[in-house]
Symmetry: C2
Subunit: 413 residues, 2 copies
């Protein structure tokens, strides 16, 4: 079954909002084997919406739109829907009542303008929105499904997960599918491809995609079979093959992140972590604390951007800085060691490097980065050579630091 996603709003087509909704929906659909074959965006224009809706209904089985369901004048998605489907808008008492009750709970009287949100196209079922006032709309007929969702990301995401995915799962007929994501870091896409050389894809009827980013390469496995069970078995065969070849680079699956995996390792071992950052300026700490509950193992960090801060806070010696420079193996080691002692943590990670675009030299070009790790037993540092782009260098440094710790804890050399 194929699908088209249409995101709606002037802010999207002018580029002032980056369209993250389409990616979320595509991933969610992919997880149940619904393939997105087209994506499009239109501004707040009824004519453009009509045109886009008609074209999508012609070429795909499932059409999902986001945006334009709010109560104000520029929210006109419903008007375009009734034009395309030649329906009237019908007032739904139960939708209004639900809205009134939810507003009442917050001690607010439902503004008159919101009452039109209880108007839905004839024949549509509504998809409850737990956190906002715009309900989703579902119209199914002649083998086509048309779903309109609000544009606010967390409202859309909740309706997708609670309503749309279970609904579509039921009507996804025919073959079974299985989607699996293996997440790797510390290895290039081309090297992975070389190591995985055996072409299991054709043999098994399983598709393997390489999805590289600054944080690592994800391997996406899409298998199909007579039913979900058969698809899963095929997928597992490929997963085992991949694990046998490149298992040391795989840090997790599906929704795992490096920071969530490390968090769990530290909780399991009842250990603590602290960080010392120079060029990343706090991004390592920010990434670690993006996991809710990180306070169980993360004590804190030192952002030692200036050399004086490295000396004062981390006890890096002035002579070391003069002899080797702040971007050096010696400094990374001293930072990690000083940090672990300062926080009395089980582990400390340090990052010092030249993020760019300024500060590079012939000997140490932009991208030169040292990651230090200190445990209660030893302290060492590793050199990395990244590229020329500041933000990507910083993100790669953070991933490399986390991966260095993961391998150390799991004793992967």
């Amino acid at each position: 079954m194929n699908a088209e996603i249409i995101t709606i709003g002037d802010e999207i087509i002018t580029g002032h909002t980056i369209d993250t909704n389409a990616a979320f929906i595509a991933k969610a659909l992919g997880s149940i084997g619904v393939e997105v074959t087209y994506r499009s965006s239109v501004g707040d224009s009824i004519e453009h919406m009509e045109e886009a809706f008609r074209l999508a209904l012609k070429r795909t089985k499932v059409v999902i739109t986001t945006g334009g369901l709010g109560p104000t004048d520029d929210d006109i998605t419903k008007k375009a829907i009734v034009k395309v489907f030649r329906r009237n808008l019908i007032f739904h008492e139960e939708v209004l009542k639900d809205l009134q009750e939810r507003f009442a709970k917050r001690g607010i009287k439902l503004p008159a303008i919101n009452q039109n949100q209880a108007l839905l196209p004839q024949g549509a079922t509504f998809l409850p929105n737990k956190s906002g006032s715009a309900v989703g709309i579902c119209l199914a007929e002649k083998g086509r499904v048309f779903i309109a969702l609000p544009g606010v990301p967390f409202e859309m995401e909740q309706i997708m997960i609670d309503e749309v995915i279970p609904y579509l799962e039921k009507i996804v007929t025919g073959k079974g599918t299985s989607v699996k994501l293996l997440r790797t870091t510390g290895i290039m896409e081309s090297k992975l491809a070389e190591l995985l050389a055996v072409d299991l894809r054709t043999e098994l009827g399983v598709r393997l995609a390489y999805l590289p980013s600054a944080r690592g390469v994800d391997l996406r496995i899409l298998a199909s079979g007579e039913n979900n069970e058969e698809a899963k078995q095929k997928s597992n065969t490929l997963v085992r093959h991949i694990e046998s070849k490149v298992g040391r680079y795989i840090y997790g699956q599906d929704t795992d992140t490096l920071e969530s995996v490390i968090g769990q390792l530290l909780i399991d071992n009842d250990q603590t972590l602290a960080v010392a950052e120079s060029c990343t300026g706090g991004e390592l700490g920010k990434t670690i604390t993006s996991v809710s509950g990180a306070s169980k193992y993360f004590i804190g960090g030192l952002i030692t951007y200036a050399d004086s801060a490295k000396i004062d806070l981390l006890s890096v010696s002035k002579s070391l800085l003069e002899k080797h420079g702040a971007v050096s193996q010696e400094c990374a080691k001293a930072m990690a060691d000083g940090c672990r002692k300062k926080f009395d943590s089980d582990y400390a990670l340090s990052i010092t490097g030249i993020a760019g675009p300024e500060g590079g030299s012939e000997e140490k070009p932009v991208g030169t980065t040292f990651i230090g790790l200190s445990s209660r037993n030893e302290t060492y540092a590793i050199q990395f050579n990244f590229g020329t782009l500041r933000e990507i260098n910083r993100t790669r440094a953070v991933s490399s630091a986390l991966e260095t710790l993961r391998r150390y804890i799991l004793d992967i050399r």
Copy 2:
């Protein structure tokens, strides 16, 4: 003149890559008054590309594609272009020579596979790519312009700015346009709209759009006139009106960011900054150091996630934490004060709050955040009440802290 952007790649339509290219291109086009009326994405399928290209050429004057220009098998954009335009691919000696020279400089022999990147559709001009091997392609005929760019963001961005925008600017005929962005923070969209009540838009033929995000609300002013000069004058009239009404919330224009504006203020005043972060875990430091050259004014920071770190590193007293809790005005003040003294900086900012989803209470619900500011003269803290989403709360805390400092330095009360 209107345009359609088509982004190409399986990774985009499956949602594994968030499509930031389309937003960049739309903004760049908007800056010269070219209006994007459609955006679409297709996977690595010649048939889908052909269909999308034909449709776009039918409904818009300018079509810009990104992706699929690399040297490997799945890079098939050129194949779709020659089908749609019924052209042959012609070998361009000068493109190959340029590629060979650039590879030679890096000490690498051009791989044979890259030679096909010198094949361009008959009649096309090529747009040089300074940082990659895939040149852009431009085909202009019958009043339509078709431009194909590589998908790697920084390569695409360089070609857009160096080649595409100057080229399109020349052929944008007819009326003049002016686009201006005023960047605000610390005020809600609805409040801005209320304060700017006078409807200058109709009067002047100027469009004003509100573009809210977690970091603030941008005001985008699009003016048109007989020529660019007239458009600019109309825009300036509205800018002056907006500044007179809500000037204190405007921190910059166009490409300014809060952190770049504050960086310049600190450089101008020859002053330094340090930070102490709890719930943001390093995001404030990371944001400040995203400005290249931040080392001129940013000394460093302390990520005091655990209470013990607040006591040990910032000299926050144990009794204060017991009496008021870590998320309190008193703690934010003590953190800012301790931080400024530790780094001997002119200013220190502190953040302590409940980012969520855990940790909230009736008295201090998720989103409760205190921002502290310490200067050489005084120390104070302000309470903010954000929402329920962890990452958004953290980003709003960072913006609020930076804005607190901007207002203090500029004495905006």
